[in-house]
Amino acid sequence: MEKYSNLSRYKELLKLQENGEISFLDLELLSFKASVEQQLCYNRKKDYFILIDEYLSRIIPPYEFRSKFLQMEKEDSEKSTRILEDFQELEVFTLANDLEKFSDLIVQISTLCFEYDEVWDGTMEPMSESEFYYLVNNHYLQLGNFK
């Protein structure tokens, strides 16, 4: 683990945003904020892996998997909001070295869960459960190194 060493830069970016010099879509600022959320997900990766395992082993049905996965992410998201407002906590907050790779794979599964129920305007082809399963499994296999 490495220290959350760029706190001063984060403060600087917040100041720039406050002054209207950068927008809330600034990628560096967004990356700082997202990294806290990603690390919280990383910290309980075992829980995520158990959930994915249960789905892939067909212990839990797809709908339950999707809603639980998104719920866990929501919890991490809420916790990250609190941490981002607490500079003392951020001072000692550490990020894993392989966080980015882990997050890229997790976000793929999360995106699948979110997108599954979208219907567009009726012209969007429904995603089959087998395609969803295949894609989740594919991303999960790549997460093997993090277990």
Partner: protein, 268 residues
């Protein structure tokens, strides 16, 4: 696609100050040099375009000569008449009766007698469309995102059941289970989430892509008062609103990094 143009709908936009930003090349393009309220670049505006407009631009900060001033009320009225006849879309808006609930936008009725909200399109000079259309049925098919826009659903609305239905059945179920007012209020909140904010919070209008084969769309991205909650709205190329939902920082970062590409696992 490497170039994206980002339009700020609330206050002047600024380039990202990020030397390490992997999307810097794109950022240089999606933050236009000039800054205009409502995200409108005058170069797109027929009024400023000698080929497309009826008037030419005035030099910056220069007051016209006295003899060019128009003080005659008759001329003003006449000009206003001419202005209103320039937009067929505006002319075609029916003046419907009062809705059951107050809404913040103009509206017209669809063939089923349901309202379609006409949300002013801040990028109209570019897209040649005056409005984004928030349709009743389309909104009823996206009730799963209603809580994101603070629209409460009754306890007997079975979301698990709803999400397993096809689009037509979703619409039927929503109409059956929800008061009409709930869906109209939801339409209104969607309209507000696509409109400029006047205050410290920002709204952006940005061209983006949807689905595997990158169909052109527009996105509005609006900050909310809740930290880590941003409302993203997808607008089809013809101006019909498709969906609005909240995203957190992590998702917003991914979408921004991907040049505003959404629903990328789905087929259209």
């Amino acid at each position: 696609m490497n170039q994206t143009t980002l339009y700020l709908l609330s206050k002047p936009e600024v380039p990202p100050n990020n030397p390490d930003n992997s999307a810097n090349t794109r950022s240089n393009n999606y933050y236009p040099k000039s800054r205009y309220p409502w995200g409108i670049d005058p170069s797109y505006n027929p009024a400023y375009n000698p080929d497309g407009g009826s008037s030419s631009s005035l030099p910056d900060n220069q007051i016209p000569e006295n003899d060019e001033w128009v003080s005659d009320q008759y001329v003003w009225d006449k000009e206003q008449e001419n202005d209103s006849s320039t937009s067929e879309e505006e002319e075609n808006i029916k003046q419907p009766g009062k809705l059951e609930v107050n809404v913040d936008f103009q509206y017209e009725y669809d063939s089923n007698g349901n309202p379609t909200l006409l949300v002013p399109n801040p990028g109209k000079a570019r897209t040649k469309r005056n409005y984004h259309r928030v349709e009743f049925d389309q909104t009823a098919s996206h009730m799963h995102h209603a809580p994101d826009l603070n629209i409460p659903l009754p306890s007997d609305f079975n979301m698990v059941h709803y999400e397993n239905l096809n689009r037509a059945d979703k619409i039927d179920y929503a109409k059956q289970k929800l008061p009409r007012e709930t869906i109209i209020n939801y339409q209104n909140e969607i309209g507000k989430s696509m409109s400029p904010l006047f205050g410290p919070k920002e709204t952006f209008l940005v061209p983006g892509f949807a689905a595997k084969f990158k169909q052109n769309i527009e996105l509005t991205i609006q900050q909310t008062d809740t930290p880590n909650k941003t409302i993203l709205s997808i607008i089809r190329e013809d101006g019909v609103h498709i969906s609005s939902f909240s995203v957190n920082n992590k998702v917003l970062r991914e979408i921004t990094k991907d040049n505003f590409w959404v629903l990328k696992n789905r087929n259209l």
